[in-house]
Amino acid sequence: MTSPKSRKLTIPPQSHLAKLLDTKQVLLCVGCGGVGKTTTSAALALAAARAGKRVLCLTIDPAKRLANSLGLEHMTREETLVSPEIFARAGVPVDGSLTVMMLDTKRTFDEIVIRHASSQKAREAILNNKIYQYVSTSLAGTQEYMAMEKLQALREAGTYDLIVLDTPPTANALDFLDAPERMVEAIDSPAMRWFVQAFTGKSVSLGLLGKGSQLVLKAVGKITGAAFLDQLAGFIAAMNDLFGGFTERAKRVSEALRGPDVAFVLVTSPEPMAIEEINFFADRLREFAMPRDVYVVNRMHMPPAPLPGDLAGELVGCGLPADPAFQHAVQAAHHEATLLAQRDASHLERLRIDARDPTPVLRVPAFENDVHDVGALARVGEALIGHVAA
């Protein structure tokens, strides 16, 4: 076991991470499902806190054991300061502070409704609307959008030096960038305005309506059922009233993502599919002239140390069986580990690095066990810094 003292963390000033932590206020961890976004965000947040920052980690759907080991026993949705005792027990000294919070999409959405509804009646009407209930939990993009809303609110509050934002498990990492647009489309787009106006027969002055629109509406109604349109029109009208200029708001949220103090951490595993996806995402960022600050390749199989020359002798020395069958199993395990490491290394060559503007690549080894306690998070953080305390 490492003694608590030896786990003090200093981040070498020339490391990539030091640069990020010095210049950025928001780290956004993106990547496709299951690659380790939540783990990476928590590890980055912890590393920054160890280096003296006041950090908030806004996580999405963390594994229960990880949440528990950070002291979030009741999976609360409030900002929760991780108690220094937890760090002391794990032998991980923290000079700054770490606050964690779990995003609750529905609740964030509800809060917006409650805050902005013009009357008690309007508020109830929305919260009880069946379409709203579906939208607030299941509509693609809602979770992403609400994460950004929350981020924005927390940033404005200014309590933290650094906010690390986890992102939801999308099939498609790009969904995250499009979330505000998709929300606008669902609530406040010209198409939706067209629909509500055509449906309620109001405001013909826009010149959008007329016979054509009525025909189209009839056709839509034939497909979905007129009663469904009725419900939908009610919902859209209520949301519109609520958000007023929702488009404006979404634009602000989306612009905030493009600020110079926001860093994109592109998380991937060595799986070809995950790499393909992160390449795609990087291309998209490039298109938008947005920075690609750092790649994290998580769960890399590292080449194993060579087997002892005298395997039988070493096994006996360790109090292990040394019969041929056992030796064979040990050799097979070593062979397999070598193969997996070779495979990961060759997959990693597919990561597209822009030669003119190379994005640094940080590797995190695949640990034997899942990462769900402070000690393990600290080790991930150390791997990210490329520095393990002596």
Binding site: C32, G33, G34, K64, I131, Y134, V135, S138, L139, A140, P168, P169, A171, E185, A186, I187, S189, P190, A191, M192, W194, F195, L208, L215, V216, A219, V220, K222, I223, T224, G225, A227, F228, Q231, L232, E271, M273, E276, P304, A305, P306, L307, P308, E314, L315, C318, G319, L320, P321, A329, V330, A332, A333, H334, E336, T338, L340, E368, N369, D370
Partner: protein, 324 residues
């Protein structure tokens, strides 16, 4: 006798598990990257080899299925992918258009609709509509008869038989993949009448019928995926949907026996033996995960972890099909 009823529901397959072959509709789901598409391809191959006519429906995915089936690219039109297997990568917009044409019948009407400049973004923004357009299409294909007619009476003996005896949906990777399955129920809540509601009702009736439909859950034998699978199963059961099979993908053949594992894990080992320690640890985690999954008491298939073979190649898929 149509082939669709030649295997009585409840019969056992060659692996001793209740056979999936009698099912008309299979929805494959699980967390991102656990091997849903791999399992879908292998299952399609297995059923096709036993003589079932299968349609594989991808849900607007990055298309990798053609590589697994060894077929030409699979797009939004149904193509023949392998013997007895047709496949399609459903695009919501196109599904909706097909549906519109079917319902509206009059060309002038559906042209007016789909050429309207707002309709596209309107449809995209209607909650659940895109999901339903895909799920509804997949369901529709379970009703097609070889004669070109349709029927949703799964028990009626048709002289000509079903066009597709089994439709397999490779569910989306997002979240738990349950959001899409939930849509027909939402439609039942919000659409009081109309064709969409009627279809949602018919589809939902089929989805809930354990002798003709089911959700196949795919998972990995690791701690967190196992935990999430328990939650997923709970969600599926809450919706009253049958789970005829759990597929545990990426199973490691153990190298060490139980006691040997214990010995390896009980000590600090020199650097040269860490690969053995790590392997023993993975085997232990797998054993624990399998024990946890066993509490679900579901008929379970195991697909081996492939190290020496490209796992998404047609050969690998055929090898995995033997386990289904």
């Amino acid at each position: 006798m149509p082939t669709s009823t030649s295997r009585a529901p409840g019969s056992l397959g060659s692996n001793g598990l209740p056979s999936l072959d009698a099912l008309r509709f299979i929805y494959v789901t699980g967390k991102g990257g656990v091997g849903k598409s791999t399992a879908t391809a292998a299952l399609a191959r297995a059923m096709a080899a036993r003589g079932r006519r299968v349609l594989v429906c991808m849900t607007n995915a990055k298309e990798r299925m053609s590589g697994m089936l060894g077929s030409p690219p699979i797009g939004p039109e149904i193509v023949s992918a392998a013997p007895n297997i047709d496949a399609v990568n459903m695009e919501p917009r196109k599904c909706l258009e097909e549906y519109g044409v079917m319902i509206l019948k009059v060309k002038a009407l559906y042209k007016a609709l789909f050429e309207n400049r707002y309709v596209d973004s309107f449809f995209r923004a209607v909650p659940g509509l895109y999901e339903w357009s895909m799920l509804g299409k997949a369901w529709y294909h379970t009703t097609e008869l070889l004669s070109g007619k349709t029927s949703d009476d799964v028990d009626a003996p048709y002289a000509d038989g079903w066009k597709y005896e089994t439709v397999i949906v490779d569910g989306p990777a997002t979240g738990h993949g349950l959001d899409m399955l939930r849509v027909p129920r939402v439609l039942l809540d919000v659409a009081p009448a109309g064709p969409m509601r009627k279809e949602a009702e018919r589809a939902w009736r089929l989805f809930q019928d354990p002798s003709h439909a089911g959700v196949v859950m795919v998972t990995l034998p690791e701690e967190m995926p196992a935990n999430e699978t328990l939650e997923l199963a709970e969600g599926v059961r809450e919706m009253n949907l049958p789970i005829p099979r759990l597929v545990v993908n990426g199973l490691l053949p153990p190298l060490f026996q139980h006691e040997q594992r214990g010995l390896l894990l009980a000590r600090e080992l020199p650097l040269g033996l860490t690969s053995a320690h790590a392997r023993a640890s993975r085997e232990q985690i797998q054993e624990d995960a399998l024990a946890k999954l066993a509490t679900l008491k579901l008929p379970t298939s195991y697909l081996p972890f492939l190290v020496n073979q490209e796992p998404s190649s047609p050969q690998a898929i055929l090898a995995l099909a033997h386990h289904l």
